[in-house]
Symmetry: C2
Subunit: 608 residues, 2 copies
């Protein structure tokens, strides 16, 4: 292991760790400084490395696919909620670039160990896990961990490696390459979407354990402190970051979105759920919540420590989050919060994305309802609202057992195999989260154009459309939404690349981020150059997807959202009017009418 | 990993580590206290565990064979030269119990980490190595180490695990299961004989790395200090331990044994070597010796740090020892000390036993000389005295390349495959060391009855027969030799079980060991009970060998030693007169006339 480089980078350590799983070797490389300036870190910089090193047509489960874990230059610093990292790879679920992120303490520990990024390449012949103790880096045998649930895996590693280590790992679902397996860290945090855990499993990499005892230096301490103080003030003034999220966590949204009439129910067949109150954040707080929990250095503290004592299930853990409650609840017509919480625990223990898992079960329920899927094929009777069946199927999916084998492919491949792909509520084969795009046109556009398929955290237009942050806009208006979508997508790319939690953006805007990034790195980022940087990242992802064969015709929504009006509730009669927004969006992006980035645009961004 | 046990054992930690390589798990067990009292530690206690747990008929390379690394209750204490450990397994070379021992710093480190013993069982699916950092124990991936020479392996482990760790490992020869592969520790120390490294390789276990920062407690500090002071005094008074070994190391014996006329030359066809002076300890000191080196806490310091600068070869390392010089030198008719030293370095780097390796090449040279083995089969011309061919064949053997494949089976299987098993100078398929039994009848008896085949360190009657320690006896006399052999064999079993270097016994006798063992453990060992303990161990090994199918008819010597008189030199006309000693030896051992331990004897020893 080489000594730390004598580079002159600030904010970044300027060091990446390359792990060749085929050879079983680890080496340190100097970070490409030019790329770091242009792509910041985390999502942006890791994507740059990824597209430079990996053929876009690669099979996601082949050794030629790589998996990058990347912190940003703000990760591990005090400031706002700067404890995030990104996982970049090619997704087995969508075939697009996958970039999933997570908080907790693991990401900061990577930085405290002196690294900005880890690139995993090749495939180990056998199960291993990576141990990082500052400069000491090695692969440990993981045969004894293979098959273990995530929390047990972490405990075993803490015992044998270092009691203060931070651990990211896959569960049995990742090992078995369930298409939407997650990478769990700090036991309850997840890089959840797009199957990044399955890629990790395909490489026989069970876990990454880090013990870091060094610090993270910023370029201008005074400016950084000033930016932090401003950020604290804004976070403390903002109702979502200072009240809603701390009090009820993300499940605060169950009642809000349901009352708005856009809580997709029974696989998007309805948009208000009669059982919403029973599965709301308020209900969770009253019944199973023990206390809040923060990620590294975060003053929001949206995490929920919970337990099922007093219910018909057993177990303790964290969550469920809003999206999980929706996917395992309203989406399946299930109003049993204990069952939802139990199912969420299983998702965390086995390492699968509860959004896709729940939505795929909802799809199966509709296939059964419509007579396209028989009781024999499932191995049990299945209908909307059956909480016990939902829990059982989650477990079978996570273990890839019985009908779980088919559920583990995701709803698109499931529905398609039964001749009804239109019943899969997905974009680019990835399942929607908990907001019906018919109820908010900006979100509809954002869903259709997200580089990783349907997603709420690549441009969270719920914020202006529903929550009124930073300002209230009309959710049913399509005019202007292309601009909103582009700005939110680009800004999100910046936040994801800086290593900061997206939840800060309820209170913080681009000026706060340009102040943070400039103070941390010494590079003069303005609001304009920072948004351009986000635009650059978005286009880089787009170009990769195009090379990977993801045609712009996939910038669309399921027919149900485009053609079938919401049948009841406040938003009765609404459809997603994508055709009114997409051409403008392409134009704003500098893409041609077919959705292909122009050479001129790519040159402008330094991508061609 | 469990906490240290609250047992009341002294001297012993009372803890063993069990590593299930099949499952990839490590667990701590309390040491069997009754067995510890009866078998002391190291060789004795490990053999007890081995015979209790392993079927004697096991294939040495099957996962059902186990490999035990065991320190004694004195290992890691100050005292005399208390830095030894034993490796116990079933030998692929002999089919007998294998017990090879080594010094250096690795054995003491095992004790400083809080363990007395490690039992390896099963077989890893892939290359791993064991890391012990006090209570933290885990298997690390070793794909990146597989194929590496031993010293490079150790350096890599020091870099990635702990810079102060002590390492035992196998080289490529162990990985490829050369029948006489060694386990190297501290780069230049070897548990060399009987192929223990091949068994380690068969389990896909590349190395054991230990960092221990705890101490070793003895039961009675005052008594232990007194025993140590007496031992220091005796070691300092004794000419071998205070002068011969420090000045010239074990190679001091080249001229002594040659002048005595018992230095086996050209595969035991002669017994004085015309090139002895050129390959003597004196020559080594004059040409390639840099300095002495001690194992942990040893005041003898027989180790030789050497280098080949100024010769036609290159390289630095340690050794060669007397036995290596003989096997690679006189045995092959080679008088080129640089070539011998180079070959010895290769043996250490690739991890093979230079005694068996050299003797097997000598056997091949005689096969070639007699026209039984052609130049085509070997791939090169081969005759006694060809130093370059010897070095080349050592490398091919270590790498198991070309004709090295056959050499790697050992001389018995080699000679047998060419129809001349009588040209293999072995007992129980293990090659002799550097003393012709025709020249010393006690050694002849000892060779024939050693539980691991031909061996000099299971009853070193060279000491009284040649060196006159503890008293001079007539080497050509057979009367009384059965008694000498039994006492030396039993005492050696005690020394090997205590964790002490056999070289201390030039100066220390049973009374010093009973004082040491009693002070360390608090168990009242007398001279009588300690020798009985040695007898118990010897019989335990014997019973295992019988169950393993090693018939007492194998208590014999090659026809050359029994029937062909030494042709020239001081011992002209001598043969090994085994028949004059063996019946008495069986009787003294309490075995029947056929060499089978009687029930009465086994009951007396607590073995039945």
């Amino acid at each position: 292991m080489k000594k730390r480089h004598g580079n002159d980078m600030k904010g970044w350590h300027g060091r990446l760790l390359r792990v060749d799983l085929t050879a079983g070797t680890c080496s340190v490389e100097e970070l490409n400084q030019t790329w770091a300036h242009k792509f910041l870190g985390g999502r942006g910089l890791a994507t740059k490395y990824f597209v430079e090193e990996v053929d876009a047509e690669v099979d996601p489960f082949s050794p030629e696919n790589k998996l990058i874990m990347a912190a940003g230059p703000l990760t591990g610093t005090y400031g706002a909620a700067n404890g995030r990292y990104m996982v970049i790879t090619k997704s087995p679920l969508t075939g697009t670039i996958a970039c999933s992120n997570s908080g907790g303490y693991f990401p900061s520990e990577l930085r405290y160990a002196g690294f900005d990024m880890i690139i995993f390449e090749g495939k180990s012949e056998y199960p291993v896990y990576l141990q990082i103790h500052n400069d000491k880096v090695q692969l440990a045998a993981a045969l004894h961990l293979w098959g273990k649930p995530t929390q047990d895996t972490e405990d075993t590693i803490l015992g044998e490696f270092h009691g203060d280590a931070k651990v990211a790992c896959i569960g049995p679902a990742g090992e078995k390459m369930v298409n939407f397996a997650a990478i769990m860290n700090d036991k309850h945090r997840a890089a959840g979407r797009s199957g990044v855990g399955a890629v990790m499993g395909s490489k026989n990499l069970k876990a990454v354990a880090i013990r870091g005892t060094g610090g993270v230096k910023v370029a201008d301490n005074t400016a950084y402190r000033n930016a932090s103080m401003e950020a604290y003030g804004l976070l403390k003034q903002n109702p979502v970051s200072s009240e809603g999220l701390p009090a009820l966590g993300t499940p605060v949204l169950v009642n809000i979105i349901n009352q708005f009439g856009a809580l997709p129910t029974r696989n998007f067949q309805e948009d208000t759920f009669e059982g919403a109150e029973a599965i709301s954040g308020e209900s969770l707080a009253a019944n199973y919540l023990k206390r809040n929990k923060s990620c590294m250095g975060c003053i929001i503290g949206c995490g929920r420590v919970s337990g099922l004592k007093g219910s018909r299930f057993s177990g303790d853990g964290e969550g469920p989050e809003y999206e999980s409650i929706w996917a395992l609840g309203a989406s399946c017509g299930v109003d049993d919060l204990a069952a939802i919480t139990k199912a969420n625990y299983i998702c965390n223990e086995y390492g699968i994305d509860p959004i896709t898992a729940g939505a795929t079960i909802a799809c199966a329920m509709e296939l059964a309802e419509k007579g396209l899927l028989s009781e024999e094929e499932i191995g049990m009777p299945l209908q909307f609202g059956d909480a016990d069946a939902m829990v059982k199927l989650i477990e079978m999916t996570a273990k890839r057992e019985g009908f779980g084998e088919k559920l583990g492919l995701g709803s698109y491949r499931l529905a398609d195999s039964f001749g009804a792909p239109e019943l899969s509520m997905t974009v680019k084969k990835q399942e929607f989260p908990a907001y019906d795009g018919r109820g908010m046109q900006g979100m509809a556009l954002n869903y259709a154009t997200s580089n990783r398929g349907a997603c709420h955290v690549r441009g969270y237009l719920v914020s202006p459309e529903i929550l009124g942050l930073p300002e209230k806009i009309n959710p049913q208006e399509t005019a202007g939404k292309a601009t909103w979508a582009k700005i939110f997508q680009d800004f999100t790319a910046v936040v994801d690349s800086a290593g900061v939690c997206l939840f800060t953006t309820f209170a913080l805007g681009v000026p706060q981020f340009s102040a943070f990034c400039t103070a941390a790195t010494g590079v003069d980022y303005t609001d304009e150059t920072l948004l351009e940087l986000g635009d650059r990242i978005y286009n880089l992802e787009r170009v990769f997807n195009l090379k990977a064969g993801i045609d712009p015709s996939q910038d669309t929504l399921p027919k149900r959202l485009l053609n079938d009006p919401i049948g009841a509730g406040p938003l009765k009669g609404e459809v997603a009017r994508l055709d009114q927004m997409l051409p403008e969006y392409y134009q704003l992006r500098g893409w041609d009418e077919g959705g292909i980035p122009t050479d001129e645009k790519l040159k402008e961004l330094g991508l061609a």
